[in-house]
Symmetry: C2
Subunit: 83 residues, 2 copies
């Protein structure tokens, strides 16, 4: 069994309007040093197999077909063995 942690980010060339909006809020709160906010996703799940290669394949398919938008997002993940 593995614990998978996935980070999904918009490609750097793609605008992040949600990040821009929330950063404006920060500015109005007086947090004027915050810059370049980019909002992505953090996804955790378990993979119920003892074969690490199979787990990596399954996680890659899950990310590329369901979790990330391949047109504008990149993903990276880590797999950690669970007792």
């Amino acid at each position: 069994m593995f614990k998978a942690k996935v980070i999904i980010k918009r490609r750097p060339s793609i605008l992040d309007p949600q990040g821009v909006a929330v950063e404006k809020g920060a500015f109005h709160l007086g947090l004027t040093n915050i810059k370049d906010t980019r909002i992505g996703k953090f996804i955790e799940f378990t993979v119920d197999t003892s074969d690490k290669i199979a787990a990596e394949k399954e996680v890659t398919e899950y990310c590329s077909k369901l979790l990330a938008n391949p047109i504008m997002e990149d993903f990276e993940f880590t797999l950690e063995s669970m007792k």
Copy 2:
């Protein structure tokens, strides 16, 4: 200047309907080993100050007032010095 990386997760006791939905999609794709999907946020930004204590204070305020929902989410962050 610091690079901040924030992870926001729902509290474990709070249901994650988006995670449940996307996991059903995985099951229908044949990815039957994927379990307990939880979807959170990953947020990156820079903090334009050289004072680490001030940066930590600013990031904590940004997270607790704007980025995370204090009723149902927890946040954690790392700060990394940038050249």
